[in-house]
Symmetry: D2
Subunit: 363 residues, 4 copies
C-alpha cells in the first residue's frame, strides 16, 4: 500500500529496480488533452542516467510505452498506463552484500517491514522508482501547460556551492538549466558545482545539495484547508522523494529569526490584480495559493552509495562488518532529482487544479 498518490488526479506506480519493468498509471487526467509519447520521453530523458560524468554510468534508455488512455493523440479521461522496461540491470554486485545493509540506505528498514525483499539494487526502495514519477509528472506538466502554469526546478546549492543568481521565469530559463550537467542557473556556478562533485567522486564519496522549485501561473484559490493545504500536499509529495530530508516554502527557515513586520508580505495592486510586494510566503497563504509564484526548496542528502569502505553489520551473524558498495552510482543525486521535484510539484498542482475546479474534467 502507499503506492497511489493524489485524490482526483492520481498516480499509481510500480516496479523494482532490477525487475522486469517500472511504470505507472495516471488516473483523472481530463479528456481531450493532446498527449504524445514524446511529451513523456522528453521528461524521462532529463532524468535518465548516463548523461554526463557527474551521473552514474548505468545506461538505461528509459523508453516509455503508453498502453492505454490515449487515442488519436488525445487523452480519453481514462487511466494512462505507461511501462518502462529495465534493461541494464546488473544485480551481480548486490548478491554478496545481501546480508550487510548499506549505511544510509533502506535495506534494513525494508527487510524489517517486509521480510521478503528484492535485494537487487535496493528493489523498490531504489531511486529508479522515480522514473514512474517523472512519467506521470509529464502528463501533469502537459495538462498544466494548457492553463499556463509552469514549474521549473534547478540546483540552488551543491556541496556548499550556492548559486546566487536570481531565478526569473523566461522562455529560455529551462534551456539554461538543462544546458549544464548540474542543472543550475548559470554556467559559472555550474562549473564550480561540477568540480565539487568530481572531487568527491574521486575521493569515493558523495555530496548533497538544495533544489529550488518555482511555479508561475498558479491562480489564487488552490489548496484545501485545514489539512489538505497546498503547502501540506506539496510537502508530502516532496518528502516522498528518495533522499529528500526537508522542505521549506518562501523565506522558509529564515523566518525563524525574522520579525513579523519584515516577514509579512505587503499587499499591492498592479494592473488591477492584488499582488504582494515581497514573496516570503512563497505564493501560499493559509494553505491557499495567492497568485504569486510558488517557491519552495528541498534538501537532498548525499548519495548513500559510496565507494569508500564503511562499517555496518552482518545481519546473519549480528557481528560488525565492513562494506564497499560497488554498483554504479551518482556521486550527487541533485542534478537527476531536479526533474523528479518538478514532477511531484506538477502532480500536486494538477490534483488541486481539479479539486478546486480551476481545471475542468473535459478540455
Amino acid at each position: 500500500m502507499g503506492n497511489t498518490f493524489g485524490r482526483l488526479f492520481t498516480l499509481t506506480t510500480f516496479g523494482e529496480s532490477h525487475g522486469a519493468a517500472v511504470g505507472c498509471v495516471v488516473d483523472g487526467c481530463p479528456s481531450g488533452l493532446e498527449l504524445s509519447l514524446s511529451d513523456i520521453q522528453a521528461e524521462l530523458n532529463r532524468r535518465r542516467p548516463g548523461q554526463s560524468k557527474v551521473t552514474t554510468s548505468r545506461s538505461e534508455a528509459d523508453e516509455a510505452r503508453i498502453l492505454s488512455g490515449v487515442f488519436e493523440g488525445k487523452t480519453l479521461g481514462t487511466p494512462i498506463a505507461m511501462v518502462i522496461q529495465n534493461r541494464d540491470a546488473d544485480p551481480s554486485k548486490y548478491l554478496r552484500i545481501r546480508d550487510t545493509p548499506r549505511p544510509g540506505h533502506a535495506d534494513l528498514t525494508w527487510r524489517m517491514k517486509f521480510g521478503h525483499v528484492d535485494w537487487r539494487g535496493g528493489g523498490r526502495s531504489s531511486a529508479r522508482e522515480t522514473v514512474s514519477r517523472v512519467a506521470g509528472g509529464a502528463v501533469a506538466k502537459k495538462l498544466l501547460g494548457e492553463f499556463d502554469v509552469h514549474t521549473v526546478a534547478f540546483a540552488r546549492e551543491i556541496g556548499g556551492v550556492e548559486c546566487d543568481t536570481d531565478f526569473v521565469f523566461t522562455k529560455s530559463v529551462r534551456k539554461v538549466i538543462n544546458g549544464n550537467p548540474v542543472r543550475t542557473l548559470d554556467k559559472k556556478t555550474a562549473k564550480l558545482m561540477e568540480d565539487v562533485i568530481l572531487d568527491v567522486k574521486a575521493a569515493g564519496d558523495s555530496v548533497g545539495g538544495i533544489i529550488e522549485c518555482v511555479t508561475v501561473g498558479v491562480p489564487a484559490g488552490l489548496g484545501e484547508p485545514v489539512f489538505d493545504k497546498l503547502n501540506a500536499d506539496l510537502a508530502k509529495a516532496l518528502l516522498s522523494v528518495p533522499a529528500v530530508k526537508g522542505v521549506e516554502f518562501g523565506a522558509g527557515f529564515n523566518l525563524a529569526w525574522m520579525a513579523g513586520s519584515e516577514a509579512n508580505d505587503e499587499f499591492i495592486v498592479r494592473g488591477g490584480n492584488v499582488l504582494t510586494r515581497s514573496n516570503n510566503s512563497g505564493g501560499i497563504q493559509g494553505g491557499i495559493s495567492n497568485g504569486m509564484p510558488i517557491v519552495l526548496r528541498v534538501v537532498v542528502k548525499p548519495t548513500a552509495s559510496i565507494a569508500k569502505k564503511q562499517r555496518t553489520i552482518n545481519l546473519r551473524t549480528k557481528k560488525p562488518a565492513s562494506i564497499q558498495v560497488e554498483g554504479r552510482h551518482d556521486p550527487c543525486i541533485v542534478p537527476r532529482a531536479v526533474p523528479v521535484v518538478e514532477a511531484m510539484v506538477n502532480l500536486v498542482l494538477a490534483d488541486h487544479g481539479l479539486i478546486s475546479g480551476f481545471i475542468p474534467r473535459k478540455l
Copy 2:
C-alpha cells in the same frame, strides 16, 4: 473539503474562531482504550491562551466535552466527538478591517477561494482551529502511550536565540519544558527567549522560531513507501499547521553540505538490536521508521498580527490603505505551537501504527 486527516485513525475538525464552537471527531481509535476528559483537557491546557505574558490575553477556558465514543471510561471503537465552546469571542475589532486584508494572514486567499467568509478573527483560518488538533492528538497520545511511544516537542530556537541543550528523553523532560513559558529545554535559554519576545512585543512586532520534536519508542516498520512514507505523512501533517513554513528530518538542511561518508548512519548492534551510531536520518530510512528516535524540526513564522502600522490595500476601492491589527495576539506563536506539533506527530504515528499492524484494532 480537506478537513479530515488520516487513513485508519482519522481526525475531522470543524469550527470558526468566533463561531459557536470548535471541535473534532476522532475515528478509528481502537476499542478498549481507557480515556477520560482529563486526558484531553491536560493537552488543551498546554495550548490554551492567556497562560503567561508571552501569550495573548484572549481568555478561553477551552473546556472540552466528549459527546460519543467513550463508555464506562473506555473507548468503544466508534467516533469520539468533542466540542469546545468559544466563549471570549470579541469580533468588534475585526469589523472595520473587513476590507483591508491583514498582511501575512489568509484573509485574502480565503476570500478569493470562498467568496463568502467569516471575517471575525480570521474565521476558520484562525490558529484557534488548532484546538481541535490538540484534542484529537490527545487521543492519539493516550493510545501511543499504551505502546510506549512518546512524543516531546520544544522550542529549539526563538528569534535568533538557540537552545543548545541536547534533548534526552527522561521522565522529567516534559516537566522541564512545561515549566517555562517558552517551552524550551533549560531555564537559562528560556529567560533569553522570553526577553526577545517581550522586546518585540514592546516594539509592536513579533518573532518566529524553530520547534524540535522527538519521538521515542517507535518500532521499526512504520511508513508505506513509496508515497505514504512516514516522513512524507509527517511533513504533510506539520505543514498543515498554521504558521509552519518548513520541516526537516534528522540532519535536515545540513545534509546539503555534508559528505555521504559523514551523513550515512553506521549500523551497530546493541543488546541484540540493530541501531545506528548517529541519527542523521532522524529515525526514518527509505520512508520507514528504523527504531531510532524520530527527530524533526519545523520553522514557525513570526505572528502575522502585529500592532505596528502596515501597508495593505482596500479591497473595495483597490487603493492602498494602512492597517493596525488590534485584537489580542501572541507576539510569538512558538510556545503555544509546541503541543500542536506534538498532536500532529501523534496523529500520524497512531495512523501508521494501525496501518502497519503495530497497533491492534482492539486493546
Copy 3:
C-alpha cells in the same frame, strides 16, 4: 473507522443511541449556499419517532444545533457541524439482556469486533444513528435543489401490499407521500399498508418492505467508471443503511428474465435532447447518469426487535436462552427509512456533482 462517507462532499457521523448526543460534520459543501436550521429540522422531523401509531413511541424532539460552517445565513465552504442531543434515552430495559444477543440485531457482531460495547439500545449499531445521515443529507438536498435536482422516496411495498400507482414527479407529490403515515403514493394503499403493520404489531411481530427512490434533474455525466460508477456509489450508500439488504436499479432483478431486445432502452430525441423511450436502466448507463430519472429500490427487512419471545443464547453460559425485546420499536421501519434513503441518495449525488464539475465550489 468507516464513519466518513464521500470524497469531495463528505459526511462524518458520530454518536451512540443512548449516549450524550448524535451528530455529524458535513465537509465540502460549496460556499454561498443559503442554509438555515429549518432546512435541517424539516428533514429530521420526517424521520423523527413518535409521529403515528405505526412508529415507535420513543419521543425525541431531535432538535439540531449548527455549530459551524454557516455565517450570516450562508455556508462558508467550511465544515458544517451539527449536534442533536439524546433526550428520551431509557437504557433500563437493555441491562438485563446484555448477555443475550437479540436475534436479527448487531449485538453479537459488534461485541465480537469491538469487545467493549455500549449495550444501551444497540449503542452505535442502533438505527438512531441515521439521524446524522438525515441531517447531513438535508445539506445535500438544499445544495442539489439549487441545481433543480430533486429526490423523492416512498414505500413501494409493505408486508406484501404493493403500491401500483405510477410515480410522477409533481410539485405535490411530496405532500401526498408525507400526508400518510406509511409514506406511500396514494391513500388507499396507505390504509392497506397501515392495517398490515398494525396487525403484525398486535401479534408482537414486525414486517418489512420496499422503498423506491426517484431523482429527477440529474444531468448526463455523473459517475466515475470503472469503480466509482454512480450506481456503485449509490449501492454502497444504501446498503450502509441499517436494515437494507438489497438494492436494484431500473428494471432491476426483473432483468434476469428479460430479453435484450426488451431490456435495451431505445434512444429518442425530444426537444433537441437525447432521451430513452423506456428507462430499464434506471437513468444510469455504464455507471454514468444519462439524464433520465434515476430510479432505484431497496428492500428493508422487518424490524429485528419484536415483542414475541425468541430463542437465543446466553453469551456467558453459552447455553440456550430465550429473549423478549421490550423497549419501544417500530413494527415496520419502512416509513421512517424513507427520508434516510433520500438522504443517502442526495449525499451521493452532491458528491458526484462536485467530482464531475456539475456543481461548482462556490455558489
Copy 4:
C-alpha cells in the same frame, strides 16, 4: 478517476477494449505470499472468451505478464503490476456505428461525459475491462486461501431457468461449476440454461440471469460501520461490474414480505461457536461478518449487443436511425461474469481482512 478500488488492498485497472493492452496494479498485498503466473492465468482462463458455443467467438489468449511485486516466487509487499495484451481486436465493425449509440450500452453516456472517446468496441466501457478485475482478484483469492476463506459463484438463474440445487461448499463444487458452460450447480439445469441461451442467440437476441456467490471461512468481525459496512463495500464492488443492476444479501428482496419472527436468525451454539440456525442475514449483521457463510446474489442484465435490428438515433443529424450490432458477443453474459463476481468479492474481503487485522501485513 474512479479506477482504483479499495483502501489497504487496492486494485487500479487500465485499458481500452481495442487498445494496446489491459491490465492492473494490485497494491497492499502482504509480503511473503507464494504467487505464480499460473495462479493468475487459471482465473483468466475461466473468464476468457471463446470457451463454448454460449460465449463470444472473439478469441483472446488473455495471457498475463507480471511486471513487478513478485520475486523468487513470493510477493514483496510492493505493487503487483500485470499486463494482458489485446490481440484479436477488430475495430472495423465499429467504425460505421460511431454516431449511432447502441441501445443498452454506455456509448452515449461516455461521449457526453468525456467528449473524446475510443469508439472501438466500447473502449473502456467494454466488459473486456473485467480482465483486469479477474487478474487482481486472483491475487486476493490466493491470499484469502491462506486463511481458509473461499469464494464460489455460480449461475443461479438464466433466462427464467432457475437452479434449485442447494449450494454446499465441498472440494468438488468448483469442478462441477466449471464443468458446464453456463457455470451452474448441476448438469441438468446446465442443459436447460444452455438451451435457453442458444434459442435467444438463434433469434438474434440475448438473455440475463442471476449469479449467486457464497464465501465460507470469513471470521466474525469484518466490516466497518457505519458507512464501510461489509455489505456496503460488497454492494459497491458488485454494482461496479458491467451489466449488474442489483444485489441482495441473504434472504434479500424476500425480506419485504417476511415477518420479523421469521426473518430473524436465531443464535445457537455448535462446538463452542456461536452460529445462527438460519442465514437470512447472509452472514452479515449490522454490517459486520458473523462467521456464517456470506451469501449474495446479483442480477445480470441481458447482453446489450444483439444481432436484431434496433432503433436509435444518429448523433450528428439528431434523427432516428436503426442499428444492427455485428461484432462478436456473448448471448448471455452470466457464465463469463461468474469469475468476475468472485474476483470482486475476494477483493473486498482481502481489503477488509487487512483493515480488521485478520490478515497481517507480512506472511
